[in-house]
């Protein structure tokens, strides 16, 4: 489903100075290789600054990052050539580490517009208002979001946990093919963590794949990964099974970075 080869990326210096990130031109990913097959769950772990979030954003098409070498193929297509919205409509979902607050655009408007964009892309008819509402209410209940919160601006005034639940709600509504979750588990209490894990597990299927980017082993108690990778210094330095996560929890990353 996803095939990343020799990926190099740096912080973009193309953007105008006002919106450019600090460290423009700095290389973050330095030859990353990763293959994900349908039905698999991969976890990427690694120390701060290893490039975990950069990898997620590059996959989603964020303009802050510039790919300087390598390739990413998704379902046989050149992913890097696609606009962010086309990637989303094609089934890639990025769960944000820091979901953005958008006052004035209601959660309902976002969910409806996003779902319709995807259905249109797939050549399917839009849902009528009644069916859409019932569908969203069902999913909202699953992640513990009150219907009245859906009328509020996207993530507006939501707590950290509510924002992450809202990410999962969007994911459940859009039913992506490849879920890329960027530290969706960070800052969550145990109940919210279970909601996030349940959301991922609900969608887990032989047709779908998941890439979990996480600092901690905790989420992996609830979402059993098939593979665990260690990302350090911009590339994957070690790959193993679920037991690798436990080993990392015990030993930290120092022994791998030194190697």
């Amino acid at each position: 489903m996803l095939s990343i080869e020799n990926l190099h990326a740096e912080i973009s210096s193309d953007r105008d100075p006002a919106s450019r990130l600090a460290g423009a031109g700095k290389a973050i990913l330095k030859g990353l290789n990763l293959r994900i097959q349908a039905g698999e769950v991969h976890a990427i772990m690694g120390p701060n600054g290893a490039g975990k979030s950069t990898l997620s954003k590059v996959l989603a098409g964020h303009e802050d990052y510039l790919v300087t070498a390598g390739s990413v193929r998704y379902q046989g297509a050149d992913l890097l050539a696609l606009e962010p919205e086309v990637r989303a409509r094609s089934g890639i979902f990025l769960g944000f580490q820091y979901p953005v607050e958008i006052p004035g655009v209601s959660n309902m408007t976002l969910l409806k517009t996003a779902l319709n964009a995807k259905l249109k892309h797939e050549g399917k008819p839009e849902l009528d208002a009644g069916s859409f509402l019932a569908y969203v209410k069902l999913k909202a209940k699953q992640v513990g979001i009150e219907p009245k919160m859906l009328q509020r601006g996207v993530n507006e005034g939501f707590s950290g946990g509510e924002k992450k639940r809202n990410e999962i709600l969007q994911m459940l509504v859009l039913e992506p093919t490849l879920m890329v979750l960027d530290e969706t588990d960070s800052g969550l209490d145990i109940d919210a963590l279970k909601v996030v894990a349940d959301g991922i597990n609900t969608l887990r299927s032989p047709e779908r794949a998941t890439l979990l980017v996480t600092h901690y082993q905790r989420l992996l108690d609830y979402v059993k990964p098939d593979y665990v990778h260690v990302l350090a210094g911009g590339r994957i330095v070690k790959t193993g099974g679920p037991e690798l996560a436990l080993e990392l929890e015990e030993k930290g990353y120092g022994w791998l970075e030194a190697a």
Partner: protein, 379 residues
């Protein structure tokens, strides 16, 4: 200045004389510009070179509105001067028609005053007076409508409002004039005890537009609430000056001004609240937010406070910004196209004003106007 000729109006001699005097005063003053302090951002002095014949009197709007009842224009013979308006002399010289009406009771259907100039390269001057009786309530739409295509036209209008005790007026000023239109509006209001004026301003068009507000809260309990959306593209310039006078104790004023400029448009808002001696327990808040959508656009926002009383609560602030790129990416990452994302974010910025609109059709139409702002410039 051959267009300055009041004899065409065929008026009684004394009225003719009075108008001629106003005209001479205007000829001496000329069109306003930065030499007047309150015209710092707009210069109309070059208009003295233009010629605008009077539009034929009694021209009717070229369309009808089915959800509102139009208030007919009537002859105006004895206008009350409005010295705060820099174009008052010009208006006094030529304004021979306007709406004069006293509203009573609870009006269910909104009224409309339609201002339109349909003759190419012509001018028109209107003078309206609206009064609300004690306890009356009404909604009035003042619509400065397009009608002359690409042609330059000049319209000045004066609207004088009197709100008696306990009356409530919701006034919607919709300015959607032609792209070459020149428009000057002066709106003054006097509010008695517990009277409420809710003003919703929508500005979408015009080449040079000047709007002036003088709101007098004359008696305790008077309330003025204002929500303004100026959303401009192309080469539109809209310059707004508002002055809210707290003349009595225990009055309230709230103002939410939203300015959006795309293309090479320019939006100016100078909002002043003045608390006069004795106006204790004044509660006032002025907020201006600005959104620049292009490098060629300009927004000048200036909230002002002048306080001569103790024990008052007054807040004011202005913010400036561009479209939030992080929010735009978030929306795109959910499958919304780049244009759709930018439109939604622009609409979100305007939402607090659009939400105030009581007419659903007008709200939907206004949303389309805001979305269209981005159409002329690539993301």
């Amino acid at each position: 200045m051959s267009f300055f000729d009041t004899s065409r109006l065929a008026l009684p001699a004394d009225e003719q004389e009075r108008r001629q005097a106003a005209l001479e005063r205007f000829a001496a003053e000329g069109f306003p510009g930065p030499r007047l302090e309150s015209w710092h951002y707009s210069d109309w002095s070059a208009l003295a070179e233009r010629e605008f014949p009077l539009a034929s009197a009694g021209a009717e709007p070229s369309f009808t509105l089915d959800t509102v009842q139009p208030l007919p224009l009537r002859p105006v013979h004895t206008p009350t001067p409005c010295p705060a308006f820099a174009l008052d002399a010009l208006n006094l010289a030529f304004a021979t028609e306007g709406v004069e009406k006293t509203l009573q009771g609870q009006a269910q259907r909104p009224f409309a005053i339609v201002q339109q100039v349909t003759g190419a390269q012509t001018m028109r001057h209107l003078r309206h007076r609206l009064a609300l009786d004690v306890g009356a309530s009404a909604t009035v739409l003042l619509w400065d409508a397009p009608g002359a295509g690409e042609s330059e036209t000049l319209l000045t209008a004066v609207l004088q409002l009197e709100l008696a005790a306990g009356s409530q007026l919701r006034l919607i000023c919709l300015q959607d004039a032609d792209a070459a239109a020149i428009r000057a509006l002066h709106l003054s209001a006097r509010l008695a005890t517990d009277a409420q004026l809710e003003l919703i301003q929508l500005d979408f068009g015009g080449r040079r537009v000047r709007q002036e507000l003088d709101i007098h809260l004359d008696a305790p309990g008077a309330v003025f609430r204002q929500a303004g959306l100026t959303a401009l593209a192309g080469r539109s310039q809209v310059d707004q000056r508002s002055h809210v006078w707290h003349n009595a104790a225990g009055c309230e004023s709230r103002s939410d001004g939203r300015l959006i400029a795309a293309g090479r448009a320019k939006a100016v808002l100078n909002a002043k609240v003045q608390v006069q001696p004795g106006a204790a327990k004044t509660d006032s808040e002025t907020r201006i937010a600005s959104l620049l959508l292009s490098a060629g656009a300009e927004i000048d926002a200036k909230p002002e406070l002048e306080i001569y009383a103790d024990d008052v609560k007054c807040a004011h602030g202005a913010s400036f910004g561009q479209l939030d790129e992080a929010a735009a990416f978030y929306l795109r990452s959910r499958g919304l196209g780049a244009d759709e994302a930018r439109q939604l974010l622009t609409l979100a910025f305007a939402q607090s004003v659009l939400d105030q609109l009581p007419l659903d059709g007008l709200r939907a139409w206004s949303e389309q106007k805001v979305r269209a702002l981005l159409a002329e410039q690539p993301a």
